[in-house]
C-alpha cells in the first residue's frame, strides 16, 4: 500500500518535472532566430546568386559561340533540343536558323553541356520556370538566322566574343574536372573524426 502511494506520487512528480524541463527547452527555442528564409522577396541576396556554378538550372545558349555541331541535340536523351543549321547557299557558311529547348521536357541531366565544345550551352542557376502554358516553356534562342561560330586558330581576338568564350570554357572546366575520390574520401573521414 505504502509503496503504491509512493509510486503514485512519483508519477505525478515526474510528470511535473518533465513538463517543466520540456517547456524550458521550447522557451529557449522561442527566442531563437528562425532558420527559414522568406523566399522569394525578402532574402538578403537573390537565391539564384547564392547557388554554385555547377548548379543545374534552366539551360541557356550563348549563340555567339555556338558552332552548330549538333552534339547537344544528339546527346539529349529526351530530345528536348531542336536545332536547324542549314548552309547559306551564297556564302557556303553555316547558319543557325532555329535553336529551341523545351524546358518543360528537360530533365536537367547536363549531358548537353558536357559535350558542348565551346561551353555555349550551359546550365544557369535560374530555377524559377513557372509559366501559364506549355508552349511558352519552349525557349527559342534564335530570332533571325545567325552565322554559326567558327573556332579560330590560337587565341580569340574579337573583343566582343572573347569574354563570352572565356565564360563558356569556364563552364566546361567546371564540368570536366573529375572528383578526386581519394581526396573526397579523406575529407569525409576527416569530417567524421
Amino acid at each position: 500500500m505504502a509503496s503504491s502511494i509512493g509510486q503514485y506520487l512519483k508519477h505525478a512528480k515526474e510528470a511535473a518535472a518533465t513538463i517543466f524541463e520540456g517547456m524550458s527547452v521550447t522557451m529557449s527555442h522561442f527566442v531563437r532566430k528562425p532558420y527559414t528564409i522568406q523566399y522569394p522577396d525578402r532574402t538578403a541576396v537573390r537565391v539564384q546568386d547564392t547557388l554554385p556554378l555547377r548548379y543545374r538550372g534552366i539551360l541557356e545558349v550563348d549563340l555567339e559561340i555556338c558552332t552548330g555541331c549538333l552534339a547537344c541535340e544528339r546527346a539529349c536523351p529526351i530530345d528536348c533540343i531542336v536545332i536547324d543549321a542549314p548552309k547559306d547557299k551564297a556564302t557556303r557558311a553555316m547558319l543557325l536558323s532555329r535553336f529551341d529547348i523545351d524546358i518543360a521536357k528537360c530533365m536537367y541531366c547536363g549531358l548537353c553541356s558536357e559535350v558542348c565544345p565551346t561551353g555555349s550551352i550551359h546550365h544557369t542557376t535560374e530555377f524559377e520556370g513557372a509559366d501559364y502554358s506549355l508552349e511558352s516553356m519552349i525557349r527559342r534562342f534564335v530570332k533571325d538566322p545567325v552565322l554559326a561560330y567558327k573556332a579560330k586558330k590560337g587565341e580569340e581576338t574579337d573583343p566582343l566574343i572573347a569574354p563570352i568564350l572565356d565564360r563558356g570554357l569556364e563552364f566546361l572546366a567546371e564540368w570536366a574536372e573529375p572528383v578526386d575520390m581519394k581526396k573526397y574520401k579523406k575529407a569525409q573521414e576527416e569530417a567524421a573524426s
Partner: protein, 396 residues
C-alpha cells in the same frame, strides 16, 4: 442594457411597436454586434497569435504577409473557407450534419454572456455564472458527437466518441477545481468572484492557499482537455483520425469548427483570469473617470486571459499527444482525487483561518517567483548549450 432600450422606446424611434417586440429585436441586434464586432476579431487574432508563437518555437517565420505582420491572415482564411464548396456527403445524416457546427459555436458563444471584461462590461451578471459556464460548454460536446455521428464516417465517429468520453470525464475535475473558489466566496456569480479578490497577486485566489493553487492548474488541465487542445487533442488526432469529427466538413462549416476551437481557448483563459487571477481588478483611486477606469480594467483582463492562452499555445508546441487510456487515467486517477483533496483542504483551511491566512499568500507569490527564476535559468542553460543566434523582436 434594459434602461438603454427603455430610453430608446421613450424617444419614439420605433413608432408604435410594442415593447415585447422591441426587446428581442434589440437583444438580437446586440448579440449580432457582439459576435461580429468582438468575437470574430478576437478569434482571428488568437489564431494568428497561435500560428506565430508556434512557428517561432519551431524556428519558422509564420504568417506575416496579410496585413501588418499577418494579423489579417485569419480574415483571408475565413474568406477562402466561405468561398469553398460546402460538401455534404451522400451517406451523411443531412439535418444533423448541417446543424452540428452551429451547436458547437453556440456552446462557446453563450459563455461570453457571463464573462466580465470590466466592472461595467458584462452582458449579464448571472447569479449562477460559473455553473452556467460549465453547463453551456458541454453543448459543444453534443455538437462534436453529433458531427461525428452524422458524417457517417469511421474517423468522424471515432473522433466524436473520443470527444464525448473526454468531455464527460473532464467535466468532473473541472467542476471540482472550481468548487474551492465557490466555497471561499460563497457565490457563483463571476462578478462576485472577482470582487472577492484584489488587484495584487497575493489577493488572488491562485495564491490564496496551496489548495487553490493546485486547483487552478487542475482546472487548466481539465479545460485544455474539454476544448480538445494538445496534449488532449485525441478527438481530432491528425495522424490517426485525419481530422476526427471534422473530417467530412468543408467550407464555412469547417471554419465554424475552427472558430469554436480557438474561441473556447480564449474562454478558458478568461475563466482562469476571472476565477483565479482577480479578473479586471486594478488599483483604484488614481482616476475618477469611469470610461478610463473600464478601459484599464479591460486591458488588465485581456493581459491575464492571454497569459493562459499563450501558455496553451506553448504547451501545444511542447507536449506530444497522450493515449486514450492515459487520458482516462490522468482524469480519474489523478485529477478527480486531487479535486476532492482540494475541496476538503479548502474547507479545513476556511475553518482554521476564516479570513484567509495572512502569511501564506505572500509565501506562495515568492515561491512562484522563485520557480519562474529557476525556469528561466533552465532556459538560459539550454541557450548556452546550443549557442544559437538570438532574435527577440516579435516582428519579423
Amino acid at each position: 442594457m434594459q434602461s438603454f432600450i427603455d430610453s430608446l422606446i421613450a424617444s419614439g424611434i420605433f413608432g408604435g411597436l410594442p415593447a415585447e417586440a422591441v426587446y428581442p429585436a434589440m437583444m438580437f441586434l446586440f448579440a449580432s454586434l457582439v459576435v461580429f464586432g468582438f468575437v470574430l476579431p478576437l478569434v482571428t487574432i488568437t489564431i494568428w497569435l497561435e500560428r506565430r508563437v508556434w512557428s517561432r518555437i519551431q524556428s519558422r517565420v509564420g504568417p506575416n504577409r496579410v496585413g501588418p505582420q499577418g494579423v489579417l491572415q485569419g480574415l483571408a482564411d475565413g474568406v477562402k473557407n466561405i468561398l469553398k464548396e460546402d460538401v455534404v456527403p451522400d451517406a451523411a445524416d443531412r439535418p444533423l450534419f448541417v446543424f452540428a457546427p452551429y451547436l458547437l459555436v453556440w456552446g462557446f458563444l453563450a459563455t461570453f454572456v457571463v464573462i466580465p471584461f470590466s466592472s461595467a462590461l458584462v452582458i449579464a451578471d448571472l447569479n449562477v455564472g460559473i455553473l452556467y459556464i460549465t453547463a453551456i460548454v458541454a453543448l459543444s460536446a453534443v455538437g462534436v458527437l453529433m458531427a461525428g455521428w452524422a458524417s457517417n464516417n469511421k474517423w468522424s465517429l471515432l473522433g466524436g466518441i473520443r470527444s464525448a468520453a473526454q468531455v464527460v470525464s473532464y467535466e468532473i475535475p473541472a467542476g471540482l477545481a472550481l468548487l474551492p473558489v465557490v466555497l471561499l466566496t460563497g457565490t457563483l456569480s463571476t462578478q462576485g468572484i472577482i470582487q472577492a479578490q484584489g488587484w495584487a497577486p497575493w489577493d488572488w485566489f491562485l495564491f490564496h492557499s496551496p489548495f487553490t493553487f493546485i486547483a487552478a492548474f487542475a482546472f487548466y488541465i481539465s479545460a485544455l482537455a474539454e476544448t480538445n487542445r494538445t496534449p488532449f487533442d485525441i478527438p481530432e488526432a491528425e495522424s490517426e483520425l485525419v481530422a476526427g469529427f471534422a473530417t467530412e466538413y468543408s467550407g464555412f462549416r469547417f471554419a465554424l469548427f475552427f472558430l469554436a476551437e480557438w474561441g473556447s481557448l480564449y474562454v478558458t483563459g478568461a475563466i482562469m483570469a476571472v476565477v483565479f487571477l482577480g479578473g479586471w481588478q486594478i488599483p483604484t483611486g488614481w482616476t475618477n473617470n469611469t470610461v478610463v477606469l473600464n478601459i484599464a480594467q479591460l486591458g488588465v483582463f485581456f493581459l491575464k486571459a492571454y497569459f493562459w492562452v499563450f501558455l496553451a499555445m506553448w504547451i501545444r508546441a511542447t507536449l506530444p499527444r497522450i493515449r486514450v487510456d492515459q487520458m482516462m487515467s490522468l482524469c480519474w486517477k489523478y485529477l478527480v482525487p486531487l479535486g476532492f483533496v482540494n475541496l476538503v483542504g479548502t474547507a479545513v483551511w476556511m475553518v482554521i483561518w476564516p479570513e484567509g491566512n495572512a502569511f501564506v499568500p505572500y509565501l506562495m507569490v515568492v515561491g512562484t517567483l522563485a520557480l519562474t527564476v529557476i525556469f528561466f535559468r533552465r532556459v538560459l542553460y539550454h541557450l548556452r548549450r546550443a549557442k544559437p543566434e538570438l532574435y527577440f523582436n516579435p516582428a519579423i
